[in-house]
Symmetry: C2
Subunit: 112 residues, 2 copies
DNA sequence: TCGATACATCAATGTTTGTTGATTTATAAG
DNA sequence: CTTATAAATCAACAAACATTGATGTATCGA
């Protein structure tokens, strides 16, 4: 599901349909408070769904829904261990997004 | 409408309701392909709505709607000049987001 | 002051998203 | 083999969002 963003000027990236789709999916994944809270919890290491359920006081199916969104966007990975599925952040995707927003910022600083 | 994100660890940021609301609004603004295209066009400098309308082949009211979303999120500013309203990127907000995603990435790299 | 232009806002509508509770699948333990 | 636990998926629903076309507002030039 996840496609990497090739290094390209942000102007070009924002002209390509596939890149637009990919970017909007990642930002959409980050656009929900519950999902941002999940990201916050994963900052101290991988967690299984049950730990997140308890930490965020959310129902299991609700978390499953949000974790799928984060996973489809390439922001987290899942790893099954017995009965548990552990979710963890993907630093590579976070780097990609940091670079992208950073280069948009640079472009903006140059022109504005 | 726009509130700045104080420098704070991402863990703490992602625990505060006001910061969550602010972040989710910014990411939501970036989660739509039309709005990303607008950002792309603004990378070469400020543009009036009519220029964006032409460049993106979109109706005026549609662009107005999306520009409002970007403005409410603090990603763009508007400046009236006679009959025209010019929109431009806000590098400060883009820096903020870069710093935030970057620090999440650092946390992820440390733990994953 | 009249008409034209640029833009914002509104009402109506269809689509997408998030939530809930129930069901299903997978694994493990007794 | 049966039962319990962890998690994914599904159906139903409500809320939020995006689009369109129409109307309103501000500014400018004639």
């Amino acid at each position: 599901m996840s496609v990497s963003l090739p290094a390209r000027t942000p102007e070009k990236t924002l002209e390509r349909s596939a890149d637009l789709a990919r970017l909007s999916r990642v930002f959409h994944a980050l656009s929900d408070e519950t999902r941002l809270q999940i990201v916050g919890k994963l900052l101290t290491g991988e967690k299984c769904v049950c730990e997140l359920t308890e930490a965020l006081d959310a129902t299991q199916s609700r978390l499953s829904f949000h974790l799928k969104s984060l996973k489809d966007a390439g922001l987290v990975t899942d790893r099954r261990a017995g009965r548990w599925v552990h979710y963890a952040l993907r630093p590579d995707t976070l780097s990609e997004i940091t670079r992208f927003v950073g280069s948009v910022r640079e472009g903006a600083a140059r022109c504005c």
